[in-house]
Amino acid sequence: MATRTARKGGEPAARPSDRLTREQKLELYYWMRLTRTLEERLVALYRQTKVVGGLFRSLGQEADAVGSCFALERRDVMSPLIRNLGAMLVKGATPVEVLKQYMAKGDSPTRGRELNIHFGDVGAAGATRGFLGQISPLGDMVPVMTGVTLSFRMRGEDRVGLVYVGDGATSTGAFHEGINFAAVQRCPLVVVVENNGYAYSTPTHKQTLAKQFVDKAVGYGIPGYQADGNDVLAVYDVTRTAVDAARAGGGTQLVELMTYRRKGHAEHDNQSYVPDGEIERWAAENDPIDRYVARLTGELGFAAAELAAVDERVRREVDAATDEAEASGFPEPLDALLGVYADPPAERPLWFREGTGGAVAASERAADGWGVYRADPKAGGDA
């Protein structure tokens, strides 16, 4: 199985990005700008202690998330990681959803149950936006996406899956078992390895001895591709090629995107482990938005005012989303009891828990003692 290295090989004859319309090219800029502006807003909210947990940035990686997800159709399913805010936005997640999640609001997509961008919207094609709510244990989304795409293959649906993993997550057993099983089953799955140089504080050379992650493809017998992750059109091209191959029955594909994590693992991380000047160099020389702006206004012939209009639109949208998110309320404690199972639909409040009103009172009167309350948690007011 040949390893196709988009970056290293000569330019392919016709690039998928050549077929993008002018609007689409501007859209790519919109998604990258929206990602960055939204994260900057989150930083402000974090400093105001309005973000409940940690804050994770994708600064400098916007092109890799946006360009790759842009290669998918709405019917396709994408599984993001913590640094794929851009991909989620492209797939239809809204700024207000993201803000409410981070602020643990009661009407956030997970009703305050899960943190940051751990939320999704997935199901039948057309009915949902097609992105999956991730969990923290790294690598687990790979086998899950194997199953999602297995179902596409079994049902003959014209859908593709795309799952992101970090350089660090490639070391997990789940990654290995998932991609290998997908490969054997020829699942229409694109596995995108975002090589951003670090896993928390761990540099890539402590993560693997492999020279590059694309080298893993041959060990799974699948096509491998590599691209400059900070060039949004190159990212689109390589991912689109892989997505098209998967859609055409070519089975599982591995794409390595070379990028750089300019912020710490999370907002609290001071990056003391990063060599002097490295971050600054990437910021100065290889910012994906700067690079795309230069390309848009240069080679691609966009006017500066067009980009400024996008920036302005983004600012308005993020402002509006912030207002809406700030205005919404926090979850009701009793909501915690709903939906662990489909049946029963609710857990019962435990008897020692004050403030659950009628439920507790009813149980105290109950003859059968000391166990779990049998009453409907929705019934009654506060004790």
Binding site: G147, A174, E177, G339, Y341, A342, W370, G371
Partner: protein
């Protein structure tokens, strides 16, 4: 109607459910042409084809994760663990991903993980386990462990139809030793309901899986030798536990033995004892006692395995003690 074995009853359930619902499919190691290490899935591939009976690599994380992903998309996967012992490899993805999917992400995850479980078969420490405790402990999972052929079929059908993930433990000692006549028609046994395996008035034994049969043997012997009337409750479902059935038997006999094949410390007998303490303290005429395996990795030699696992004379002895209390 002819009698069939516990194993055949499970296979019959798989056949019927796969025929009923095209979303049901099976995946696991060597389950296809080979029919699985115990032949539970024999004939399925011939009937339903390779795409619905999938031989997988040796990848328990991969298989369970893939089942979850397919379940989200409306499929109904049934995963075989070649031996249930290997479910330990999928502990993370089962407890962290599958169990929480509905709660944290409103994602349905209807799937079954099934496999040969339990000892008394000289399988040694890695082919004899009863891993229920670690999963009964996990909110979001259901756990089923039948003791009869009828329940094996009916619970498997219920498990496949359940909207959540059901872990279905099959006792390999019972596979070919226990037989039953299947009720006619669409035989579904509800999850979450225990069964009175034998009525009695003096002492209750609360148990499940292979030790149901030890309890029944002990009850026979005690009826004959001591004139004791022993009630045997077969839990059938371990999560959620059937509190009503537990309370009912405690109130009836006021003396309770909890019996399981799993090791003692941290086994689910503790949970059952706590529930009885909370709900029925004043109904107890004797301490709740436990008969369980010793806290030891299960050894291979018959002399050792028999010593470590609970046996019928242990149950007899414990019931006598309770009755005499």
């Amino acid at each position: 109607m002819a009698e069939i074995t516990y194993l055949e009853a499970i296979r019959e359930a798989l056949f019927e459910e796969m025929a009923r619902d095209e979303n049901v499919f099976c995946l696991g190691e060597d389950i296809g042409a080979f029919g699985g290490a115990f032949k539970v899935t024999e004939g399925l591939m011939a009937r339903f084809g390779e795409s619905r009976v999938i031989d997988t690599p040796i990848s328990e994380i991969g298989i369970v994760g893939a089942a979850a992903g397919a379940a989200h998309m409306g499929m109904r996967p049934v995963v075989e663990m070649q031996f249930i012992d290997f479910i330990a490899n999928a502990y993370d993805i089962l407890t962290n991903y599958v169990a929480t999917a509905r709660y944290r992400a409103f994602l349905p995850c209807p799937m079954v993980v099934r496999g040969p479980s339990g000892g008394y078969v000289r399988g040694g420490p890695f082919h004899s386990q009863n891993p229920e405790a670690g999963f009964v402990h996990t909110p979001g999972l259901k756990v089923v462990y039948p003791s009869t052929a009828e329940d094996a079929k009916g619970l498997m059908k219920a498990a496949i139809r359940d909207e959540d993930c059901v872990l279905f433990f099959e006792h390999k000692y019972l596979y070919r030793r226990v037989k039953g006549v299947m009720p006619a028609g669409d035989h579904v046994v509800p999850i979450g309901k225990a069964r009175v395996a034998r009525e009695g008035t003096d002492v209750s034994v609360i148990t499940y899986a292979a030790t149901v049969h030890k309890a029944l043997e002990a009850a026979e012997q005690l009826q004959a030798e001591d004139g004791l009337s022993v009630e045997v409750i077969d839990l059938r479902t371990l999560a959620p536990l059937d509190d009503e059935a537990i309370v009912a038997t405690v109130r009836k006999t006021n003396r309770v033995l909890v019996l399981h094949e799993d090791t003692r410390t941290g086994g689910i007998a503790g949970e059952i004892t706590a529930r009885i303490s909370e709900s029925c303290f004043e109904w107890l005429d004797a301490p709740v006692l436990r008969v369980t395996a010793h806290d030891i990795p299960l050894p291979y030699a018959p002399q050792l395995e028999d010593f470590v696992l609970p046996q019928t004379p242990d149950v007899v002895r414990a019931i006598r003690r309770l009755a005499a209390y």
